[in-house]
Symmetry: C2
Subunit: 331 residues, 2 copies
DNA sequence: CTGAAAGCGCTAACAA
DNA sequence: TTGTTAGCGCTTTCAG
């Protein structure tokens, strides 16, 4: 069923039909409107979005790229993006890159092919020179095509950026932990190459330094639950003299807590544990996890807004807020 | 940059250019291929997917509908769908319906307008007659448009269906809990109107019945963390004589555990707790939550396959598996 | 093997 | 106000 069918059945031209059904400009006389609308739903007409897009050379599609939609951190941000998109009547095309930058690049290029209005890329960039520059090139292309783009948590690209204040958030956390009386810290620092991990690590160390402290140990490892588990085990194996443990995200922290439990280390009695992100799904773990809260959904919303609005490239930083819970309570 | 630009620069016709760049059929002579490819990337040509879709009247778009992408249950299934889509080089358009059936209907119709190849709808249907029939009508439309469709966890629609075996899964759970020695059960049953919740409730009661038992209490409530928290509180307030508590999903179970903890009720010492789903993010809660594992990602994959393949309408049921953990350990 | 040309369904000048 | 018509960019017969 095409517009032409509808027009004929209603005894009007396609132009008229288009005007009453889709067009926003001058509206035909009421009588014709009725006829066209009637014809349209008798025929079960649905506009062909591709044809509209081609004719108007513009779409209401926006893209969103996440590393892994099962990771609650990304899901929370994505949720914000989708809410904002929904409010603006934009259709969302989402892809999970499974942490593969080739997929990321390919998808960005698909979005360009789809003539997407804008895209939001979520997730910390690896500091790997090669894939970094290839991604940058495609980002360039994307922007040159006239579409908007915003990145969440990955600075250094020539597009709008929304970032959490990882550095000062973890510095604040360090201060509060010190104030609570903790002294001998280990950092489960995630991958060396991940900017987010690095910033949180650095901020924490900075915070400690203000109190004249420095971490007893810094473990690398994956940015995942299993990474946290493994890093905690290593720490115990090494019998490091530690009284509090900071994992650079909640998922790692929870993994670490499991490792400690398995080894019979009491939290917070024997060892305090803190994370970062304040993932909603993890707010019920026990002991309650001390962490740094990020306005994840808001960051997502804002990213979409920036991507859509275009304008001069800006970087917006979102404040993080320390949340003290039982996992770092001092007896 | 259009195909025409490329063709002119390469000194060939658009037909030729199309054949080497996109078309899959007869390929022009090597020399021309080179010229066209060269021209294409000198000009930074990207095909216009809308125009292609219009010309071929077919797309590589698939849709996916979830109630709430932040809910790890949906995220896990969505992840499976996206993986399967990625393997087939399909682009995914995802929407969160925020549990609103009007949004759901609207999105389905957008997908139709986009001439999506197929769609997957994830999430338990409410048993609300009105929105049910309106959704059914749009589902009809969608299928009539020639696109494929599969539903996850919502039977009763005239399309492929993938469902977990909620009923026998929770019956199995009931049996195992009884075998462990628990006797006085309360069910935190979720909303009356939610098919998934109802089936799990019913299966559990069935399982108990085999042992000549029946639940001491059945609490309704939301299908969420807060719903579980509130339901558990009510139960305690009523001072029901209960020794084990089954929440119809993990998220509720975790909420309930928090309520119990707040009230000083020891789990599993004083009260056992079990859930359903085996959400990955919650595998580290303590005490480890006894639950029923569902192959969520696989279900998502399969749903996409069915939606794409079309064919006769089938219903596939996925077996659930009881996972016993510490939350129901008997001293 | 290659090119010309007719659409795909719709929008937006431009005319009437 | 309404209709005519020329594209939008690409695919695909159909000739050459």
């Amino acid at each position: 069923m095409t517009l032409l069918d509808v027009a004929q059945r209603a005894g009007v031209s396609v132009a008229t039909a288009s005007r009453v059904l889709n067009g926003g400009d001058r509206v035909p006389r009421p009588e014709l409107q009725e006829r066209v609308k009637a014809a349209a739903d008798e025929l079960g007409y649905t506009p062909n979005a591709q044809a509209q897009a081609l004719a108007k050379s513009s779409t209401n599609l926006v893209g969103i790229l996440v590393h892994d939609i099962e990771d609650p951190y990304f899901a929370a941000i994505a949720n914000g993006v989708m809410r904002a998109a929904d409010e603006r009547n934009l259709l969302v095309m989402m892809a999970s890159t499974f942490r593969d930058s080739d997929r990321e690049i390919a998808y960005l290029s698909s979005l360009r092919a789809q003539r997407a209005r804008a895209a939001v890329m979520i997730g910390s960039r690896r500091t790997d020179a090669d894939s970094l520059s290839r991604t940058a090139a495609e980002v360039e292309n994307f922007l040159n095509s006239g579409a908007g783009l915003a990145l969440v948590s990955q600075s250094g690209m020539p597009a709008h950026t929304v970032e959490p204040d990882n550095r000062s958030g973890s510095a604040d956390l360090a201060r509060e932990l010190v104030a609570l009386g903790w002294r001998k810290f280990a950092v489960l620092g995630g991958p060396e190459t991940l900017a987010t991990a690095r910033d949180r690590r650095a901020g924490f160390i900075e915070g400690l330094a203000e109190a004249g402290l420095q971490p007893v140990a810094v473990e690398a490892g994956d940015f995942t639950r299993d990474g946290g588990y493994a890093a905690a085990e290593q720490l115990l194996d090494r019998q490091a003299d530690v009284d509090c443990l900071f994992a650079v995200n909640d998922v790692m922290a929870v993994g670490a807590m499991s490792a400690l439990r398995t080894r019979g280390v009491d939290v917070p009695g024997k060892l305090g544990v803190a994370g970062f992100d304040d993932i909603a799904t993890l707010r019920d773990v026990w002991p309650g996890l001390t962490t740094v809260r990020l306005p994840l959904e808001q960051m997502g919303r804002r990213a979409l807004e920036l991507a859509i609005e275009g304008g001069d490239v800006t970087t917006e930083t979102f404040k993080a807020e320390v949340v003290l819970r039982e996992s770092t309570a001092k007896a």
